[in-house]
């Protein structure tokens, strides 16, 4: 059993009143998740770390604007999404952010830096994710790896639930075809 003495909502209230210690505790609970989300959509450790720092800084500066502390998760991921796409636009100003795709390597996904997936991890999965569009990949990351509901994903991505579902299900069909193809006798 995990005993958590202070809830996130309490920490958010204290932090919004200026308690840096409370905010640090909150950051320590969320930094790994946010970092991994950023890592999977940017494909670069350095970018993910820099962005994570920016995200938590921006979040602290705007914490008073968060009306419902219970909605902290979608709120912080929304900031992370915006920061990541802002970086994409800065890197490739002449290309639409949707057109920025990670570059494939032998060891996994890579965007202008070191490879993010260690070689021992599934190359098939890395390759399949790499073939998705950034929007589809982000939908998979938010749903499968981060466990958000469709409504929360729509809030984070600032688009309708129908768009979220469309992106995710297209991605799932592509991933299924690569990772769980139909065998002659049924399931492979």
């Amino acid at each position: 059993m995990i005993f958590r003495a202070v809830e996130d909502t309490d920490l958010i209230r204290q932090a919004s009143r200026g308690s840096v210690e409370s905010y640090n505790l909150l950051v320590s609970r969320w930094e790994k998740r946010v970092y991994n989300y950023l890592l999977r959509i940017t494909g670069n450790r350095e970018d993910a770390l820099d962005l994570a720092q920016d995200v938590f800084l921006k979040a602290y500066q705007n914490l008073r604007k968060l009306d419902d502390p219970g909605r902290f998760a979608p709120w912080i991921y929304r900031i992370a999404h915006n920061e990541a796409y802002s970086l994409f636009r800065k890197r490739k100003p002449e290309v639409d952010a949707d057109g920025v795709e990670p570059r494939a390597t032998d060891t996994g996904i890579n965007v202008g830096g070191s490879s993010v997936f260690p070689i021992e991890l599934s190359l098939a999965v890395a390759s399949a994710l790499e073939r998705l569009s950034p929007d589809q990949r982000e939908a998979v990351v938010l749903k499968i790896y981060q466990g958000f509901k469709f409504e929360e994903m729509a809030e984070i991505l600032s688009c309708p639930v129908s768009t979220v579902k469309s992106r995710l299900y297209t991605a799932l069909e592509l991933l299924k075809a690569e990772l769980a193809p139909i065998s002659p006798r049924g399931v492979s």
């Binding site: 905010y23 950051v27 930094e31 970092y35 500066q61 991933l175």
Partner: protein, 188 residues
């Protein structure tokens, strides 16, 4: 194309209501095609989970970052009181207070009669000594009064305790006598 009453992907991703979930479960039990589809979804998700979350390479913390101070004025104030200038400021303030007090008292004395004569000094000393004696007498009275009260209280408590003990002894004696097992010292 699935023949399930609801989208199997919605079911698998836990986006259906409880009654809807139950309907899909009942359907999957009797439909081999949908069972196969469910198995493919499970395999796909299992493959995706082969990519593990990474630890963040550097913890994020903002404890000493001045940007967290609420305003520039408060930041300056906090920085000032947290610095070595604090001691210097306190010393300077005390020195200023002493100088001011000295200047004011000197002005008051010189404005009426110039420098104090030996007789004036004696009178001041006698007045100060008399005031001090009055204070000492009052303090002594208070101390003696407090001591007497405390002794009275302790004495009363001791009497009550002795009375209680005597009463308990009598009660025990009466109880033993009533039971008939009391043996007088003379019978020994």
């Amino acid at each position: 194309m699935s023949c399930s009453p609801f989208d199997l992907r919605d079911y698998y991703l836990k986006e259906l209501t409880d009654p809807q979930q139950r309907q899909v479960e009942a359907h999957v039990k009797v439909c081999s095609a949908c069972r196969e589809e469910m198995e493919r979804l499970r395999l796909t998700q299992a493959a995706l989970f082969s990519l593990r979350d990474e630890e963040i390479p550097q913890r994020i913390a903002f404890v000493s970052d001045p940007v967290f101070e609420p305003s520039r004025a408060q930041r300056w104030w906090a920085a000032f009181w947290g610095s070595s200038g604090r001691l210097g400021f306190a010393g300077a303030a005390m020195l200023s207070a002493v100088l001011l007090f000295s200047a004011l008292t000197r002005t008051a004395g010189t404005s009426s009669s110039g420098a104090l004569s030996p007789a004036d000094i004696d009178r001041h000393i006698q007045r100060a000594v008399a005031a001090s004696e009055v204070r000492q007498t009052l303090m002594t009275k208070q101390l003696v009064h407090g001591l007497v009260e405390r002794l009275d209280r302790e004495h009363s408590m001791r009497l009550v305790a002795e009375n209680d003990a005597e009463y308990a002894q009598k009660q025990a004696y009466l109880a033993e006598r009533k039971n008939g097992d009391y043996v007088t010292p003379a019978s020994n």
